[in-house]
């Protein structure tokens, strides 16, 4: 079985409506702020998510059982979480774990990284994603990759800029469509190159 990979664009969805990644580009769907029944429903639909923010799923435990359920039964290969042990659990089962790293100020970023497991298969979700454009090289180098930029990326220009630093970004469906129209070929190339 091929190792999972992180698409360049994750389209955010609460799972209550059908959200498809734009066709022809390196993109997938991230489900967050939802509930367990909705997540299960979406996982079995024709717009199954590639990623889930596991801490934001009402009804789903925040433990190894939940990670195993999401990555195994639901076949969602990318798990976002605030808990280092759960990110490591996802990576340990051959999937991708992404640990939330909060970048509100330099001290907070350093502290947020202290708990990072820094093991193979565990990357980082940097919140808010837009701040990546303002980090120093040494700060960027300290963040384990792959890096997913998540939050307040609201324009094509911001998205394009963030993708020069991050491996992937989270955007709303409307922006995903605009990106596909304006950067489609570049996004396919970016995905193929990783």
């Amino acid at each position: 079985m091929a190792a999972p990979r992180l698409p360049s664009i994750l389209v955010a969805s609460d799972g209550h409506h059908s959200v498809h990644a734009p066709p022809g580009v390196d993109a997938g769907v991230l489900v967050r702020d939802t509930d367990l029944a909705t997540l299960v429903h979406r996982a079995g639909s024709d717009c199954a998510p590639q990623a889930v923010d596991i801490d934001s799923v009402a009804g789903l435990g925040i433990d190894d059982f939940a990670v195993d359920f999401v990555t195994g039964r639901l076949a969602i290969p990318i798990v976002l979480t605030r808990r280092p042990q759960l990110a490591a659990r996802a990576a340990g089962s051959g999937q991708i774990g992404l640990l939330h790293v909060f970048a509100y100020d330099s001290t907070g970023l350093r502290r947020s990284l202290e708990g990072h497991p820094r093991c193979d298969g565990v990357g980082s979700v940097v919140t808010p994603g837009l701040v990546l454009l303002h980090l120093r090289d040494d700060e960027l180098a300290a963040i384990p990759r792959p890096i997913l930029a998540y939050g307040l990326i609201d324009t094509v220009e911001d998205a394009r800029a963030c993708l020069t630093t991050a491996d992937a970004i989270v955007v709303r469906p409307g922006l995903a469509a605009k990106l596909a129209a304006r950067l489609g070929a570049d996004l396919v190339a970016a995905g193929a190159g990783r």
């Binding site: 701040v131 303002h134 609201d154």
Partner: protein, 196 residues
């Protein structure tokens, strides 16, 4: 005679007059902050139970002091913790807990509600919380992205400070141009020197 902090309007006026506030996470930097032009020193780390001497030094330098009650050690971010800070002469208290704003104001101090910018779909909730808590000032983090996101946010009824990754004069100018009252920064070069 017990110390009476300035009212919120005076606090805001002091910042407006010199909008670069010094944020310190290490008391070893206090001397440099005291000799700078910064009108307010924001204490973001340290022992909240032994702030008396530090507060007096700051006041003796004709500066104001704001303490982040969620981040300093030794104190709980609750009403009693806020009362403790009032008792040692703190001028302003910062917290992410909206329910503390009333206690801060009741203690005669300036109430600063810290707003963490996370995601667009959480902005409305956060802004509503600020509407309920009625702070004197909102502090936005990370402040460096304020110019990029100001169009997404509703207009606040109170002045805005911006902190977090504010490192260059260009950052400061962009933030002030976006409508902020001032910045809070640990970048010493931005604090300015007296006479400069």
């Amino acid at each position: 005679m017990s110390y009476a902090p300035p009212d919120a309007a005076d606090f805001i006026e002091r910042v407006a007059g010199d909008p670069r506030c010094a944020a310190i996470t290490d008391q070893g930097l206090l001397g440099e902050a005291l000799s700078s032009r910064a009108p307010v020193i924001f204490i973001l780390r340290g022992n909240g139970l032994s702030l008396g001497a530090l507060v007096r030094r700051i006041h003796d330098a004709n500066k104001l002091v704001a303490v982040h009650v969620d981040l300093v050690g030794g104190l709980r971010a609750d009403r009693a913790g806020v009362e403790w800070l009032a008792s040692v002469g703190v001028d302003a208290v910062i917290s992410s807990h909206g329910q503390l704003m009333a206690a801060i104001r009741h203690g005669g101090m300036t109430a600063i509600h810290r707003l963490l910018l996370v995601r667009r779909n959480q902005l409305d909730t956060a802004v509503a919380a600020i509407g309920r808590s009625a702070p004197n000032i909102v502090e936005i983090l990370p402040g460096v992205i304020l110019p990029s996101v100001v169009g997404m946010m509703p207009r606040f009824e109170v002045p805005v400070l911006a902190g977090g990754f504010v490192r260059t004069e260009a950052d400061v100018q962009a933030i002030l141009s976006a409508g902020a009252l001032g910045v809070t920064t640990t970048s010493r070069a931005l604090w300015g020197t007296n006479g400069a």
